[in-house]
Structures are given as C-alpha cells and as structure tokens.
Point group: C2
Chain length 292, copies 2
C-alpha cells in the first residue's frame, strides 16, 4: 500500500468511482471525500463509500492525506488546488483527473508548495452520466490512465501514483502534457464535438421531425446520441481549455469532409472507396487490443 | 401466410437474415436464394437456410416465387430487377432492401411489367459485417422497415408485404421515396460519412500515431470506428445515389460545426453550453422508445 490516507475532492462519477475502486482493491486504509454539493455529500454518505465526507471545507482531511485526487469539474481544478495548498501534509502527492492537462499545468506553474509532489493525471474512462450514483468500481479496469508529471517531479511520487492506478486496474502511460492534449483532441475531444454537432444538425432539420429522428435512429445516428448526451458543462470546459488542439483538429476534419463532399458531388467513387477502405483497419486493431 | 414461395436475390447479411427470420417465424413455405458469388452460395448451402440455392441464373426460382426480395448491393438492384422481369410469376410482389429509394424508383419507372407489384422497401437494420455468415434471424426484431410504394400500387400487395415484415418482427412505416431519402440522409447517411471522415482524419494526423489512436480510443473515438468499419462499396453507392440529400446535410453540418468552432475560438461558453444541452433530450427519447 503506497498511500494510507486518500482524499478525493469532488465525489461525482470519477471521484466516487476512484473511492469504490480503491476500497475494493484495497489501495488505501482511509478514504475521505469532499464535495461542495450538499446533495452529492448526502448521496456519498448513503452509499457508504467513504470514511469521512466533508461538505465544503476539507482542510482537516487534507492535513491527513498522503494522496489527494482532485476530481472537480476541470474549470475548478486550479482554484481547488490553490485553496487546499496551505493545508496539505508535507510530502503528499497531489494529482487530478482533468481531461485537459496543459492548461492546468500552466495555471499552477510556480505556485505550488515545494514539499508537495504534483503529478497531473487523466483516466481515459468515463460514461455520459454524472454524480456519485453513476460511479462504479470497475470504471478504470483495463483503461488507460495518462500521467503528465512536469520535468523534475520526484520519481518516487510518480512511481507511487503509477502503482496506485495500476492497483485500481488501470494501464498507465506517462506523457508530456501538450502531447496528451493533442492525442485527446484526436481520440476524444473532436469525436465529442462532432457528435454534439451532428445531433444538433439533425434536431434543427425543418423537413425531418425529431420524432422521425428518434424512430429511425438505428441507422447510425443512435451511437452519436450517447456521446452527445455527455455533460455539457464538462465539455464546454474541455473545448475552451484545449482550444488550440481542438481548433486544429476541427480544421483538419472540415478539410477532409469537404474533400469527400466534393467527391460525392463529382461522382468520384474511387476516392470515396479509398477513404472508406482505409478506416476498417483501425477497427480491427481496436478489437484486437481488447483481446489482449 | 401471405406468400408461399420466397425468392431472395443476394444472400448476404440482409438476404440471409431475411431467410433465417422467415423460416424461424414461419412466414413462407419455401425459401430460395440466388447469389452471384460462388462462395456465398456454398456458405448458404452449408448453413442450410434455403430450400434451393442458385448460383447465377435464378429464372426457374423466379417463376415460382410469390415474393421476390432483391438484396444485392444497391448499385445492382435496378439491373437485377430488369433481368428477372421476364421470368416473374404474374401477380408476384417484387421488393428490395436498398438503403436509397428515390434513385431506384426513378431507374425502374415505366419499365416494370404491369402484372407485377413493385413495393420498394428498406429495413433500418444492419451491422458493419457482410456475407451470409453475418446474418441472423433477430436482425429485424423491433426495427423499422420503411416501404415506399409508388402512387397507385396495388393495396393488397402493399398490405401483404407489410404483414410479411411484421411477421419477421419489424415495425413498418409507409413513406414517400424522397422523404425516406431525406430522413435517412439525416439519421444514417450523414452519420456514416462523418464517422468515415473522423476516423480518416485521426489516421492522417502526423503528430499522433495510429498506435496511440488505438490505445486511447475509449475516450469517444471507438464508437465511430464501428460505424466507419461498414462496407465501403455499399456506402460509396449510398452517397452517390442519395447525392442531393447527402450534400444538403453535409452543408448544414459544416455550417453548424463552423459556428461551434467560432464559439470555441472566441470563448463563447454560453453558445457551446446551449448547443450541448439541447442534444441530451434526443438521447432520452431514444432510450424511452426502446422501452416501449
Ligand atoms: N465524465 C467523464 O467521462 C470523465 C472522464 C475522465 C475525466 N473526467 C474529469 O473528471 C472530473 C470530474 O468529472 P465527473 O464526470 O466526475 O463530474 P461530476 O460527476 O459532475 O462530479 C463532480 C463533483 O465535484 C463537485 N464539485 C464542484 N466543485 C467542487 C469543489 N470546488 N470542491 C469539491 N467538489 C466540487 C460537484 O458538485 P456540483 O455538482 O455542485 O458542481 C460534483 O459533485 C472533471 O475534471 C472531468 O474533466 C471526466
Ligand atoms: N448492411 C446493412 O447495414 C444494410 C442495411 C439495410 C439495407 N442494406 C441494403 O441491403 C443490400 C445488401 O446489403 P448486404 O449488407 O446484405 O450486402 P452483402 O452482405 O455484401 O450481400 C450481398 C450479396 O449479394 C450478392 N450479389 C451481388 N450482385 C448480385 C446479383 N446481381 N445477383 C445476386 N446476388 C448478387 C453479393 O455477391 P458479391 O459479394 O459477389 O457481390 C453478396 O453475396 C444493399 O442494397 C444494402 O443497401 C444493407
């Protein structure tokens, strides 16, 4: 056991899942959760997934914690970190689960206590649901968790956090924050933006009713609606904080779509075929990776 | 039983699924399948899903069939219909399963025998796999099947075909061909084009490797790869035959995406939030519809 006492700040989908997994996999002795939402605190208490719940100030828990995981909405991660800073125990590891890393690392650069080890993180796992009830212990099982420690971070702290995530069932990768943000813009942020757009475009069609859209959604549309049902606030923040990478991906996507559109207009079947054939291989590789 | 003898032309995913379902649900006495692919015929024979299999010419089967369902790739539907025309039994119902309807109706307009009842159809059901082995009897269960009979079509023929599809477990809706093509452009064709584009854009990123794309696909990308693994030939044909509706949808989509892109660039969080919030309702309605 690398960390005896764990403090989770923000006990929603991700935070409560970490609490459940840490307990189930015996990754710490004591689990505290702090959440500013009264309803969330009530629910966390009822679920019995923490040894102590703080509604609002968490300084007394922070002073005891060997590992603090920030699981608040991403827009509040930096402020939450700075507010807790004075209370943290010397030598504690501070991490987070935010979906964008460069922005947070920049916001905290040079503002952290020297005796605290900050190792930013991002578990690539989630659902379209929010809140403590939505969490479950298996969420991180065989999912990647990316850590983006700044240069010079204490190696033991990084190793301990890697061991913790592996203990929850995750696979762990260490990456540069800006690389993380570019990879995620490709595999997560652009897909979400596209899904939101597509569902919106369909809703706005004057000649096709929403009833028809619902009725005939099995033709492909349905898969997009699950992604487009994700938390709007979280995704607004993701796009605004990972702006550069997102905009680059959107531009490339529009270019590629425009090229396919042109091929359709000019009956260039070969061009369409070439493009549609090359995407199958990735699916096969993803399914193969599942088997490993 | 409305139809004693059934001929399925093209025994791939859709055709073989119809054969399986018609047998399982006792919707006809005799099932013949014709397929130009030798491998498919061999597989159909081995699977034992037909009472007779024709490799190539199906005129002898066509002469006996009360219902003929064309399940070939969509680009060949019109030619296949015209080739079979002389052999068909007087009074037979001729239908198809093609994903685009306006194009086929136009291609056959005025060319059909007067004693044949042509009722175009499209089951909104499928998977990303092809071939006889990929089929299964439950494919149409609780899925919509749209029929687009031209004005003046014999009403008994339409009623019989509706009863047949309902017998396979489908829900049936009758629609105008051009309305069908617009609804499908929205709920199926645009989603497929977008999925192909998105997966292609990700593959082409120089700064993100395909290995990384596969590894971190759980963040949203994964769902797109299933759709983008659909049959390239079939989808090329869908876009080229449903060109007008597809191009209109692509233009609307690009407009909407460009507006969101602009909101990201100018930090217009409210605009993003409004757009992301409105898409959740459709998901809820789709899940509600599942329960019915
Ligand atoms: N959901 C995913 O798929 C996913 C995946 C990977 C990473 N993440 C990241 O995980 C983080 C949390 O996401 P989530 O889906 O778990 O959200 P969630 O279910 O909405 O939970 C967040 C919880 O934190 C509370 N909170 C807000 N501000 C706080 C503060 N200053 N101190 C303590 N608690 C606070 C919220 O209360 P209120 O409701 O009152 O605000 C809420 O109960 C985000 O940074 C997100 O980027 C999410
Ligand atoms: N897949 C879906 O999700 C889906 C959903 C709804 C509707 N549809 C429609 O269903 C139709 C069939 O799709 P599918 O997915 O079942 O395709 P499939 O699995 O590829 O099967 C088509 C079969 O028809 C054969 N064939 C080609 N030309 C023929 C001809 N002239 N006479 C007899 N057989 C012929 C093909 O042989 P070869 O391999 O030698 O060409 C193949 O065995 C298409 O029109 C499509 O638009 C598909």
């Amino acid at each position: 056991m690398r960390f005896e006492t764990l403090l989770i700040v923000g006990g929603g989908l991700i935070g409560s899942s970490i609490a459940r997994a840490a307990r189930a996999k015996d990754q710490c002795k004591t689990i505290y959760i702090a959440d500013t939402s009264e309803a969330a605190c009530k629910s966390i208490t009822e679920l019995g997934i923490a040894d102590g719940v703080a509604d609002g100030h968490a300084d007394h828990f922070a002073a005891q914690a060997d590992l603090v995981i920030l699981c608040t909405p991403s827009a509040r991660l930096a402020t939450t970190a700075m507010n807790l800073m004075p209370s943290l125990k010397a030598g504690a590891v501070l991490t987070d689960v935010g979906s964008v890393k460069g922005h947070l690392v920049q916001a905290l650069a040079g503002r952290l206590r020297k005796d605290i080890h900050f190792v930013p993180g991002h578990p690539i796992a989630g659902t379209e649901n929010s809140g403590p009830e939505a969490g479950f212990a298996e969420l991180f099982e065989k999912r990647w968790c990316v850590l983006t420690p700044p240069k010079g971070t204490n190696e033991t702290a990084v190793a301990d956090l890697i061991a913790f995530w592996k203990g929850l069932g995750s696979l762990v990768e260490v990456m540069d924050p800006s690389r993380h943000d570019m990879v995620m813009a490709t595999t997560s942020h652009l897909p979400h933006l596209i899904a939101y757009t597509l569902v919106g475009t369909a809703i706005d069609m004057e000649t096709v009713t929403n009833k028809e859209v619902v009725k005939f959604s099995a033709g492909g549309f349905r898969d997009f609606t699950r992604i487009a049902a994700s938390d709007p606030v979280m995704w607004r923040d993701v796009f605004l904080t990972n702006k550069t990478a997102t905009l680059e991906m959107v531009d490339r996507f529009i270019e590629d779509l425009t090229a396919l559109k042109r091929a359709i207009r000019w009956d260039d079947g070969d061009m369409l075929l070439d493009n549609f054939a090359k995407t199958r291989d990735i699916r096969r590789r993803i399914l193969d990776a599942d088997k490993d």
